[in-house]
Symmetry: C2
Subunit: 231 residues, 2 copies
């Protein structure tokens, strides 16, 4: 069966990618930026930790609410479709026909399909949900799982670029190590991310690395511009 | 037509929501966190700007690459489907039948549908793309538009909570104003976001406000914990 080669990544892996992608990049770039203006690693660590806490909560809870919204939305649309096939079946049949008219099927065939589909209400509603509205049934507990996965991935991703600042008092010095460690991690992460989403792995790894480097360089330059080592 | 009431937000609005949602929350929480440990607004501003630069690049470029990946993926799958209806038409017809078997249609009707659909290759491929693979044709230029919209929204969102620190030297003092302004903005933003995505507006606004408050409180507490005003 050829479709198993199509893009397919589980929701959990997608969540890890979402969380870690930003987690590696933003705290790294923030720390790099601060190192451009502040010589004390202490402040960089404080800002970095504050960012990781803020970012993981914002992204994790954001993921939770997005998942919750999705499943609430699905439930309310499902109720509405069941109600409609009961209340206005002819209109709903017309909508089934419309779907197939769009694919150039004959009027006669459209009618046959609509009539036959109407025999099984569950399958009829399932068809409307998926093909008229484009909604897939969300997994149960998806929302809270998603929140935890994204949040944790952000924390893990964020701790990596920050770790040199824990041990090296001078932020400029720590920055070198942070760049080295984070570059390797961004590349490796980009590689696996691309593998998992079915993209060319080496190009994908480079892209992720370049985003991180650009973000860090821009933050560094900007911090230097406003503060020029005055802090 | 009832389906116009269904959840429908344009891609641009979705991008604004994505960017502004994190832009309002993370720089706000970072600044609040730093105010818990550092009394100089200067440092808070430097860190805040570095974060906004880093975050907008990470999210904007992230949006760009996500859009690019999506359209590359669509193009390569489209090519594959055209190739397959040419090379192994019977297999592809079988896949059409499978889709309808899943909705409980009779074997005979499945055959008729598959045969009739096979008459127009473009529509056949379109059907496979949408209903077998669940892929929608991405808009042209979607990727770069998306990047700019998300990045700008993040910047605009981030400047708001940071603005009091520009004018008030004492970070603790600035924090009060930042909390006041940002709470209002989070609530208003949450309200419109919910309106646009068809959710209950007041509850939605509260949720967004609570995420922001939680993230800021946690960042504040954590920064205080590591540094207890020692900087």
């Amino acid at each position: 069966m050829h479709h198993e080669h199509h893009l397919k990544s589980s929701d959990t892996i997608r969540d890890i990618v979402i969380g870690m992608s930003d987690g590696l990049t933003v705290p790294f770039a923030l720390a790099a930026g601060l190192s451009g203006a502040i010589t004390s690693s202490n402040i960089v660590v404080t800002a970095g930790i504050a960012e990781i806490v803020a970012g993981s909560i914002a992204m994790g809870l954001g993921g939770f609410l997005a998942g919750k919204t999705e499943s609430d939305h699905y439930a309310s649309e499902l109720k509405r479709e069941y109600d409609e096939v009961e209340r206005v079946p002819e209109e709903e049949k017309f909508e089934v026909k419309e779907v197939f008219a769009g694919f150039g099927l004959s009027k006669q065939l459209q009618n046959e399909i609509a009539e036959e589909m109407a025999k099984d209400k569950d399958k009829w509603v399932d068809f409307m949900m998926r093909y008229e509205l484009g909604l897939e049934k969300p997994e149960a507990n998806r929302a809270s799982q998603s929140a935890i996965t994204i949040g944790l991935s952000y924390i893990i991703g964020g701790i990596i670029p920050l770790s040199p600042y824990f041990f090296i008092k001078d932020s400029q010095q720590a920055l070198y190590y942070s760049c080295a460690i984070t570059s390797v991690c961004l590349f490796v992460f980009g590689y696996f991310k691309s593998k998992v989403t079915g993209q060319p792995a080496f190009t994908g790894a480079l892209k992720v690395l370049i985003i991180g480097a650009l973000a860090a360089a821009a933050a560094f330059g900007m911090a230097k511009l406003i503060n020029g080592g005055k802090l």
